[in-house]
Symmetry: C2
Subunit: 124 residues, 2 copies
C-alpha cells in the first residue's frame, strides 16, 4: 500500500507548507524581519552587539536583541560573553547558522542582482 502525500501523519518528511510542521516554525525565525539579515551580517564575520547593529540598517536595540536570542535558541548563533568591564560580547554563526546563512544569502544576492528587472516589472 502506497503512502499518499495527503496523509496527515507527521514525521514522514518535514514540509513548510504544512501548517503545524516545525520546519515552518523555524522558517519564521529565519525569514522574519531581522532574522535573515542577522545571519547575513554574521556570515564570515564575528561581531559585537553594537557593530552588528550598525551593520544592519534600521534595526533597533530591542529587535536585534530579541532576534539574536531566537537565533541562539535555534542553534544558528553563538553568543560568547567575556566577563570584563565594560562588557564584551561577541556573536558568530554556528555551522548550522552558516548553512542557513548560505541559502538566505543566495536568495538575497539573487534579489539584489535582479532588482532592476523587478522594479521595472513594478513600473517604478
Amino acid at each position: 500500500m502506497k503512502m499518499l502525500d495527503t496523509d496527515k501523519k507527521e514525521n514522514l518528511r518535514p514540509d513548510v507548507l504544512s501548517e503545524h510542521c516545525q520546519s515552518r516554525f523555524v522558517m519564521n525565525h529565519v525569514t522574519n524581519r531581522w532574522g535573515g539579515l542577522v545571519l547575513l551580517a554574521l556570515s564570515e564575520e564575528t561581531l559585537r552587539f553594537s557593530a552588528l547593529r550598525r551593520k544592519i540598517g534600521g534595526v533597533s536595540e530591542r529587535m536585534l536583541s530579541q532576534t539574536l536570542k531566537t537565533l541562539e535558541e535555534d542553534g544558528f548563533v553563538l553568543r560568547k560573553s567575556y566577563d570584563v568591564v565594560p562588557p564584551h560580547v561577541e556573536y558568530s554563526l554556528t555551522p548550522l547558522g552558516e548553512g542557513a546563512a548560505k541559502h538566505f544569502g543566495a536568495l538575497a544576492r539573487w534579489l539584489e542582482d535582479n532588482l532592476e528587472e523587478i522594479m521595472k516589472a513594478r513600473g517604478e
Copy 2:
C-alpha cells in the same frame, strides 16, 4: 580613487543590509509570513485560488489574496482570469517568480533536511 563599501551613495549595488535599499522592500514581500510559501506552492504548478489555499496550510482567504496581489505587483506571479460563471482564475509564476522560488525553495529544503538537528539544538 577607490570606492568604499561605506559610501552612503545608493545605486552602486543593491544591499539588503541598507535600510532604504529597495531590495529590502522586495525581500520583505518574499520573506513575509506567506510570500515564500506562495512562491513554493506555485513552483512547477499553476493553481486556482482555492487549490492554492488548500495547499498552503493555515492561510486565510484575506491573507492569500493580499499576498498574491503583492507578488503580482512585484512581477513574481501571473494572474490569469477567465471570464466565465462561476469565475475561474489561475495563478502561476513568471520567469522572475521561478527564480525567486528556486532560491526560497532551496532554503526551505535545507531547513526541512536539517530540522532534526535544529530541533536537537533547541533541546526539543
